[in-house]
């Protein structure tokens, strides 16, 4: 555990010392939030749109932006730099648990996500968004978003370890965009067209988005929350296991 801690601290220092890479993870999702709300808010007025539960459309859109912010996966790009620069081999030549090498970076990714999610929600509060589930719901919102950040960073790290290429890893990260658009990001799932609803139902991001949305718009709704946490738990376990397997067989 101490190895995860020291490697995680190093990864956090790395992120803090590269603000050029960190700041877009905050501003690009906020930009999308403003643009999406600007385009669709008039269609869904707060008073006559039941699915907004009395809040404005920005509250409905916020989970999409939180998930986007958690899906940059910059940890994987640092990993590729480390592989290319030789530091990764330096770590592998030390008696460090391979699990710690994987978990150190993922721990840092979770910590970054906690900070960015908190800042985004705090920035959203003055614009009429509130967290209907209260402080505990806010905490769960942060935990769930950070857990998704770990899942997605794990996915990108897999590409990094397999390809050892910054270009391939970067391209792999773009897979999030189709995943984000195949969700009920603009309206609830039951208002989607049938083909879109089926596609969204097969998309794991849908369940995380619905869980986050339930925390913002409603008091605790255990069914969507349970599904959201179950999805990140399963995907997180799979990603960590695949990362460890990949790093152990890395030649």
């Amino acid at each position: 555990m101490s190895q995860v801690w020291v490697l995680g601290q190093r990864a956090l220092r790395e992120a803090l010392r590269t603000p050029d890479a960190l700041l877009p993870t905050l501003f690009i999702p906020l930009f999308f939030l403003v643009v999406n709300v600007g385009q669709a808010a008039k269609i869904f007025p707060s008073g006559s749109t039941p699915f907004l539960e009395g809040q404005n459309y920005a509250a409905f859109q916020l989970p999409s932006s939180l998930l986007l912010a958690a899906s940059f996966g910059t940890a994987a790009l640092y990993l590729v730099e480390e592989i290319e620069g030789g530091y990764f081999d330096k770590l592998r030549a030390a008696p460090v648990s391979r699990t710690a090498i994987v978990l150190g970076r993922l721990f840092a990714e979770a910590a970054k996500s906690v900070t960015i999610t908190t800042v985004m929600v705090l920035l959203a509060l003055p614009f009429g968004i509130s967290i209907a589930s209260g402080p505990l719901g806010f905490l769960l919102l942060i935990v769930l978003t950070a857990a998704w950040a770990v899942v997605f960073a794990g996915f990108m790290q897999l590409i990094a370890l397999k390809t050892r290429s910054a270009a391939a890893t970067n391209s792999g990260g773009l897979v999030f965009f189709p995943l984000l658009f195949l969700t009920p990001s603009f309206v609830p799932r039951d208002l989607l067209t049938r083909p879109m609803e089926i596609a969204a139902s097969f998309n794991p991001v849908t369940y995380i988005m619905e869980a986050l949305r339930s925390l913002i718009l409603e008091d605790f709704a255990w069914a969507p929350l349970g599904r959201g946490f179950a999805v990140v738990a399963v995907l997180g376990t799979v990603m960590v296991a695949l990362n460890i397997r990949m790093i152990r067989s890395y030649d």
């Binding site: 220092r13 480390e82 008696p95």
Partner: protein, 266 residues
């Protein structure tokens, strides 16, 4: 004499798009404890692959390797505790400071925070980087990076130090500084396994050396023995240089080696 490195019929095969490539084809190596052992060969001869297998960074296709008495395939973590590694690319994290990198490295080898801080300071003094210790590594010169890389390979006082082309790309003054440090480290009892393309470096530093070509060891002995063997075999009046031994061993000519092997006079 205890063996610091012992490899028997070491083989590495890669499967690639163009078929199977045999990078190392049955290498036997025996390095005594306390030696500076030079491992020479042209580009692509199998030097780095052999070092990576000996340092647990690459799997062994067949054969066996023991470093500091430990089977590297059977117990890689035990081997890692006994070896220090500085590879071709100075393996450093450019966003950390020199001190942070050494503290982290020491902690990964099991030191407490206080021990790691103390060890980092000792090493910074050893490689003369105290003044630059709290600057980010990305601002270091090539020579400073090499010295820091060397220091990071020494945090746990390894029994065997593997150095893969530690002076490549350095100016002559930095190269001489690294040589002095290697002599000092070896003087403290650390075995050094050094790969280099600089024959002058091998001649200056190594007690014994092996030349690998096409994945096979083609010569092995002290620099003096290898030169004498060639002198006798060719009936030369003057003692040949290590360059000539290398060219003879690898079946290359100076023309063919142009651009492949760099030779320097320090």
């Amino acid at each position: 004499m205890t063996l610091a490195v012992e490899a028997e019929r070491l083989v590495k095969r890669y499967g690639g798009r163009g078929g199977v490539v045999e990078a190392v084809r049955g290498v036997d190596l025996h390095v005594d404890a306390g030696e500076v052992f030079g491992f020479l060969g042209p580009n692509g001869a199998g030097k780095s692959t052999t070092v990576k297998m000996l340092t647990t960074l690459m799997s062994i296709t067949s054969g066996s390797a023991r470093v500091a008495g430990v089977d590297v395939a059977a117990d890689p973590d035990a081997a890692r505790r006994r070896i220090g590694v500085a590879l071709q690319e100075a393996g450093l994290d450019p966003r950390q400071t020199g001190r942070e990198l050494l503290v982290l490295q020491a902690r990964l080898f099991g030191s407490s925070r206080a021990q790691a801080v103390e060890r980092a300071q000792e090493l910074l003094e050893l490689v003369d980087l105290v003044e630059a210790a709290d600057r980010r590594i990305k601002g270091y010169s090539g020579g400073m990076m090499r010295r820091l890389d060397l220091a990071s390979a020494l945090v746990h006082e390894p029994e065997v130090l593997f150095l893969d082309e530690p002076t490549t790309g350095l100016d002559p003054a930095s190269r001489l500084t690294v040589w002095d440090e290697l002599r000092r480290i070896n003087g403290r009892g650390t075995t050094i396994f050094l790969t280099t393309q600089y024959l002058e470096e091998a001649d200056q530093l190594c007690d014994r050396l092996a030349i690998i070509d096409g994945g096979r060891i083609v010569r092995e002995g002290t620099p003096g023995e290898l030169k004498s063997q060639l002198q006798e075999r060719r009936g030369l009046t003057a003692e040949p240089t290590l360059d000539e031994v290398f060219l003879d061993a690898t079946g290359r000519t100076r023309e063919r080696l142009a651009g492949e092997v760099q030779e320097v006079q320090a």
